[in-house]
């Protein structure tokens, strides 16, 4: 198990390098002069030249890449034009909000999705199965941003059950940072009012974000449960008198979860992309919104920074899922 983990971790380092190679390449296909971009709109020629030397933009490509890596490792991720701050500082400020939103969202998707998939499989072709299937088929087709807008329209504006957007009310002070995660910090500091408000604000965006993932997870889990329940070892378990609950919820589910986990990983990636849309709709102060605002104003460094952070986050998640897969399925542990 340990060797398995180490192998995966080493692989991840290479993937990260690859990711940085991609962002490096992208920054060099930009039509504008990268030095001018980095220096900002009000730089004069001398400043631009200084940046050119500092960023090594007059050197051969592989040297530039080395300088790039070094720059990133020392925390110099560039300066954001539209926030006038260092990109690194911006990322540190905004990332926790995205993290909370995405984690909350995937949690809903898993906690609701897995049981609903099991229920649909166990009651195959009966009304509840049909209802669930209609939901899942449409769920994957709905555009996330439109779903968010409609949810805002109906639940926030029309019914007034939820706030329109934002992380918390403008007047409220966030709790003193421990983990930088608002909900967690509020709990740790005992500020239950702030916690409740934060929860109130996170519901709509999280639901809009998780909807396609929820639909996919239900579909895959249902299909896998149906497949698993037909397997011989289930017949064997019944032949030895095990209870239906144990057979379905433990014996069958553990097998069905394996491909479901793969889908969860895939959908998590889509969610990280979707966070860009949902944060825009709900004014959620996260990396997605940051990246979009940067893209619109052609502010280059923040986009690259956001891409690296989100890419890295996705890689870490995939690593975790791989590990969980290894724990669940003993056959995998012995493979290369």
């Amino acid at each position: 198990m340990l060797r398995f983990t180490l192998r995966r971790a080493v692989l991840m380092v290479f993937m990260l390098l690859g990711l940085l190679a991609i962002t490096f390449t992208i920054s060099h296909i930009a039509p504008s002069d990268p030095a001018a971009l980095a220096a900002g709109p009000d730089a004069d020629v001398a400043m631009i030249e200084r940046y050119r030397v500092e960023y090594g933009l007059d050197r051969p490509l592989y040297e530039q890449f080395a300088i790039y890596l070094q720059r990133l490792l020392t925390g110099n991720w560039g300066k954001s034009i539209h926030t006038t701050r260092q990109v690194w500082d911006d990322l540190v400020t905004y990332f926790p909000n995205t993290f909370e939103l995405v984690m909350f969202s995937i949690l809903i998707a898993i906690v609701l999705g897995v049981p609903l998939g099991v229920i649909a499989a166990v009651h195959q072709n009966r009304p509840i199965d049909h209802t669930i299937r209609i939901l899942t088929v449409s769920g994957v087709a709905l555009p996330m941003f439109w779903l968010g807008l409609m949810a805002q329209l109906y639940f926030a504006l029309h019914l007034g059950w939820f706030p329109l957007g934002g992380r918390i009310e403008m007047m409220t002070d966030p709790p003193e940072a421990i983990t930088h995660l608002l909900l967690v910090d509020a709990l740790l500091r005992g500020q239950f009012g702030v916690f409740a408000e934060g929860m109130h604000h996170i519901v709509l965006p999280a639901v809009a974000l998780c909807f396609p993932a929820l639909a996919s997870i239900i579909r895959v889990n249902r299909a896998e449960m149906l497949e698993t329940l037909n397997q011989d070892y289930i017949v064997n378990a019944r032949a030895h008198g095990l209870s239906t609950f144990r057979i379905v919820a433990v014996y069958a589910l553990k097998n069905a979860m394996l491909p479901t986990m793969a889908m969860i990983g895939l959908r998590f990636g889509w969610m990280l992309g979707g966070t860009v849309l949902v944060e825009t709709v709900f004014d959620w102060p996260g990396i997605g919104l940051y990246a979009v605002q940067a893209a619109i104003s052609s502010d280059f460094e923040p986009i690259m920074g956001a891409t690296i952070v989100l890419g890295f986050f996705f890689m870490m998640t995939n690593l975790v899922i791989d590990l969980i897969y290894g724990i669940l399925d003993p056959r995998v542990r012995e493979q290369v």
Partner: protein, 343 residues
Amino acid sequence: MTGPAPLLSVQDFRLEFDTFDGVYKAIDGIGFDLAPGESLGIVGETGCGKSVTAKSIMGLLPSPPARVRDGRILFGGEDLLRVGERRMRAIRGNEIAMIFQDPMTYLNPVFSIGTQLVDVILAHQRSRPRAERMTREQARDHAVEMLRRVHLPNPERQLDSYPHQLSGGMRQRVLIAMALSGRPRLLIADEPTTALDVTIQAQILDLIGELRRDLGLSVVMITHDLGVVASVCDRVVVMYAGQIVEDASVARLFDHPSHPYTRGLLAAVPHPGRPAASLSSISGSLPNLLDPPAGCRFHGRCPLAGDDCLRPPPISTIADGHRVACWRATEAVFPGEAVDAGA
């Protein structure tokens, strides 16, 4: 048949399947008895209904699409077809246990065999009075004990291993241990050696024989292999297309096969020393059970068939403990034997 009351008695059992293409009449009125301590073989080609019979005894057929039309399956006085799922769950493993054909697919690949064994043992405890139930620790010990019984090397270590780490023979032993862990009175073995190498087959059959003696088990052995029947069974029932055509002791069947199908089967077995040119086969193929022939289902392929075969043949007892379902039973009689027509 005289003697002690049968442990298992199948009577006039009729079963159908509702399929997309129609009603599949899988079992058409079969009946046989199993005495306590006896080993009964059910022999027939693939598709004749032997597995379906076994699964019906255990109540493992999903109920649509399977439908019982008629009959009783009596076990220790209870009709298994009518006792309800709760009672069946208590019976499964504790009183009747089953082992299956392919040990790889019948073990859950993501749980250790220890977990699966202990789960089964703990499931058995539910039908015991509270005071007698085993704890998890005791169940584990019992699992080790059972693995030892089936001659699995290193039983304690094996508890933590996974099915894919064991060989086919070892897996089958695990399944046998699982089946017998509840001390059942009856073991149903559905082609337990078909998926195994020939050398391992012999070992597994020996093991079943040994456990049968030690634990006083009765065994129903389902197989298409006459060799298995000859070596392990006391009595044998021959099935064809959902009907029982012959029912006799093993010695009797091999010496005096009476049903044309049985004779065909035995004639098709190659013997060393017999020239290959004289290998015979039964021409034709299985009837379509969506629209089965009336009367004897073998008459389409039978060399002795006549017009009366379109009516269900009577079950003639042509010798003590030897019954045949054939209009021509008298014609198959060997010189010097008495006939006793009518069931």
